[in-house]
Amino acid sequence: MTTTILEPHTEPHIADLEKQMTAKPPIQAVSIILSKGSLDMVYPALILANGARMSGIDATIFFTFWGLDAITEKKLDNLHVATVGNPAFPIPTMLGGLPGMESLASAFMKRGIEKLDIPPIREMLEILKDSGAKFYACRMAMEMFNLKQTDLIPQVDGVLSVIDFFDNAAGSQLLFI
């Protein structure tokens, strides 16, 4: 019979630390479905994707319905804040519908964003692309809005059907915005 003598761990604190760190498996990849085109929806999607890339997590954004506005060449520089149907907005919904209100609110939000040194949408998209994030447009929404891939920014990696999107998203965490 052989006896194995276990050497006492010289640095138990490292073992503890590793145990703690491996308790929750880290997120490897996120796939964000962006279905809205207002600034208060587009920024969170882009910032979440960027935060993921900063932490070494793969990030994909699937732009569908009005989310396509964020990658449509003619629209992305003029996205607005939703002033109607946004219960957290500090102005009553009835007033939010008045002419000019959306532009005013968007101007306020843009000013706040600049103050925080958050880049404009176009620069955010470039940062994300350079970070290795992937952008896909939804085929059905493209057809619905009569868009061609040439209407989109060149950084878009492709146009996918929902089935292809899910195949592509295998193993990743899904987030719908």
Binding site: L17, M21, I47, M54, S55, G56, D117, I127
Partner: protein
Amino acid sequence: MPLRTYAGQSLSVNEEGFLSDSAQWTPAVAEEIAKESGLIPLKEKHWQVITFCREDAAREGQPPGVRRIAKLSGVGMKELYELFPKGPGKLAARIAGLPKPTGCI
């Protein structure tokens, strides 16, 4: 606070392995933290980023985010991600002996 041995010194780190006291950082410590993430050897461009992060943090009181690093360090965004494939946001700060960045961009 857990302790880890880097470059022959026992240093206090937080739960995520960031040095508790950035003043205890030395280039040799950086090499060893980098080794844990498979970044060996650290190349000149890595050092350019690490040095920028330490200088910027000393000036600003907080570690820079990736956008700031890419804008001001002389190493662009694409290259930054090539240099730190496991995520430049956290990794550059950890190797530079700084706390985890709080910014999201």
